[in-house]
């Protein structure tokens, strides 16, 4: 494991100096101990400037309404790759992989609009039957009275199938997409990571671009169809994109389109296990599934933070942000802000306005696949509830070492006969 940062992180979170709290430490999320640090920041200094972090100085924005303000003001708070992109950790300049998530308008808008039809309401309706059929098949194949890993057998299995469909990727090779997703998003300092350096990551993503590029080229000369590769190949704004942008765009769609949903599927089982009263409420009233889905997406917060760079001086939460400053919005904190959400640390599956969470972001970069994620989760629980009397969690989750993806690598469960 890499050298830790401030010794304060090992001290009492309620007592250490605010400046010793570095919420960018991936250990906080691996060990699930981030809550009290953000509670302190929200209470004591909601827009706080960290002078010394492993990623250089940055503003930590931890309250819901300030996060919303940053999200909506994209003219001030840029996502542009050239300024550092959308993660606190920056991609190396010569290996950066732009995509529309790390662009500002107008280019962002043009590229997003090429792919957004894949998740338009009509297309989602068309996909629901297929999603349900696969979910049923996967669930029917699970062992009973025997401990297994939910992440591998269900979360990865279902989201990988979804990805293969979205890309119209060769079915039998679909786990390759999961591998590339993990490569794209891992923290290279984690011993569990599939690659251990930026150079290695770049090499692997190059192979991804080659494999998907071959399909892209094939589909460019065929009539357009409704998969992401064909859409990219035919889109005016995307059909001639340079190789590193192609890598970045694929990585965005692969990670955004699977990893996040995967972790929420796993997180939903864990969350309901930890809140048995809510699980009972759900079983007694399956009409609460859609609301539960949104609440679980809030509770899990699959993307921990996003980052922006100020293009000009600005006021935020009473602080003066300077042009060029790195501004990090912590979704994981905003989603637990008691000023915005009642009883935020409780899972409440029937709370009013369950969709008012930050997990999908807001503004022009709001998750384009959000309704597809909700659809997959809804179908999962619609098929789960009538099949299984319970899903018992048999041990602690093994969480991802990352300050960006709030992931669960494995979750041992058992389904009684």
């Amino acid at each position: 494991m890499n050298a830790p940062l401030g010794a304060g992180l090992d001290g009492d979170p309620h007592r250490i100096a605010l400046d010793a709290i570095d919420v960018s430490d991936p250990r906080l999320y691996r060990d699930d101990v981030w809550h009290p640090y953000f509670a302190r920041l929200r209470r004591e200094d909601p827009v706080h400037y960290f002078r010394d972090s492993r990623y250089g100085p940055y503003w930590a924005v931890t309250r819901y309404k300030d996060i919303m303000q940053v999200e909506v003001n994209h003219q001030v708070y840029s996502s542009a790759s050239e300024l550092g992109g959308i993660q606190i950790e920056e991609q190396p300049k010569d290996m950066d992989r732009p995509s529309f998530i790390r662009m500002d308008p107008p280019k962002h808008d043009e590229q997003r609009k090429v792919v957004s039809p894949v998740v338009a309401p009509g297309n989602l309706a068309n996909m629901e039957g297929l999603i349900r059929e696969r979910t049923a098949r996967v669930l029917d194949g699970l062992p009973r009275n025997e401990t297994f890993d939910w992440v591998d057998r269900v979360s990865i299995e279902l989201t990988t199938m979804m990805l293969a469909t979205l890309f119209d990727y060769p079915w039998d090779d679909r786990r390759q997409l999961t591998y590339w997703s993990d490569v794209a998003i891992c923290n290279v300092n984690s011993p569990d990571a599939p690659v251990h350096s930026e150079a290695e990551r770049f090499t692997e993503l190059g192979k991804m671009a080659a494999a998907l590029g071959a399909l892209f080229n094939e589909r460019a000369v065929q009539p357009p169809k409704f998969d992401l590769l064909s859409m990219l190949a035919h889109g005016e704004a995307t059909r001639q994109m340079p190789i590193r942008e192609f890598m970045g765009t694929l990585a965005l769609l692969i990670v955004g389109g699977n990893d996040t949903t995967r972790n929420t599927m796993s997180g939903s089982v864990l969350a309901l296990h930890e809140h048995p009263g809510e699980y009972r409420k759900l079983r007694d009233n399956p009409a609460l599934i859609p609301s539960m889905v949104s609440e679980v997406i809030r509770y899990v917060t699959p993307v921990i933070h996003m980052r922006r760079t100020a293009k000009e001086d600005a006021e935020l939460g009473g602080k003066h942000i300077k042009k060029g400053d790195k501004v990090v919005i912590w979704y994981v904190s905003g989603n637990r802000d008691p000023d915005a959400i009642e009883e935020p640390d409780q899972l409440v599956i029937d709370r009013p306005r369950p969709r008012q969470h930050l997990s999908f972001g807001f503004g022009i970069h709001r998750c384009v696949g959000n309704r597809l994620a909700e659809l997959q989760l809804r179908v999962l629980w619609e098929e789960l509830l009538p099949r299984f009397p319970a899903i018992e969690v048999m041990g602690p989750p093994h969480r991802l070492y990352s300050n960006f993806i709030h992931g669960i690598r494995s979750l041992p469960v058992r389904i009684p006969a």
Binding site: D109, P121, A125, R355, Q356, G363, N370
Partner: protein, 106 residues
């Protein structure tokens, strides 16, 4: 009290009182009208309160901010008479407003 008629995609009509100063979105949400999701709670940040404004009324509405134009441009089912209902504030002059809801919000 001015009234707004919300017409669901399947044709079901709801004629509701919406007080002056309240948004058309809030009027729907307060009465649990299906078809307006309003994920962001009225911040012009999600485009899930999207409605089609009856042509007779479209020009009577206040102007669109850049943010509304931007967010609406991403809505899959946007038409020339689309507006975000969180940005339409009720006035007495809008009494009788009719809005149609899209097939789905996203």
């Amino acid at each position: 009290m001015p009234k707004v008629t919300y017409v669901e995609h399947d044709g079901t009509e709801h004629r509701l009182d919406v007080p002056v100063g309240l948004s058309v979105m809030r009027g729907a949400v307060n009465h649990n009208i299906p078809g307006i999701d309003a994920d962001c709670g009225g911040e012009c940040a999600c485009a899930t309160c999207h409605v089609y404004v009856d042509p007779a009324w479209f020009d009577k509405l206040g102007p669109q901010s850049d943010q509304e134009v931007s967010m609406l441009s991403f809505a899959a089912l946007a038409e020339p008479n689309s507006r975000l209902s969180c940005q339409i504030t009720m006035t007495d002059g809008l009494d009788g407003l009719v809005v149609r809801l899209p097939e789905a919000q996203h």
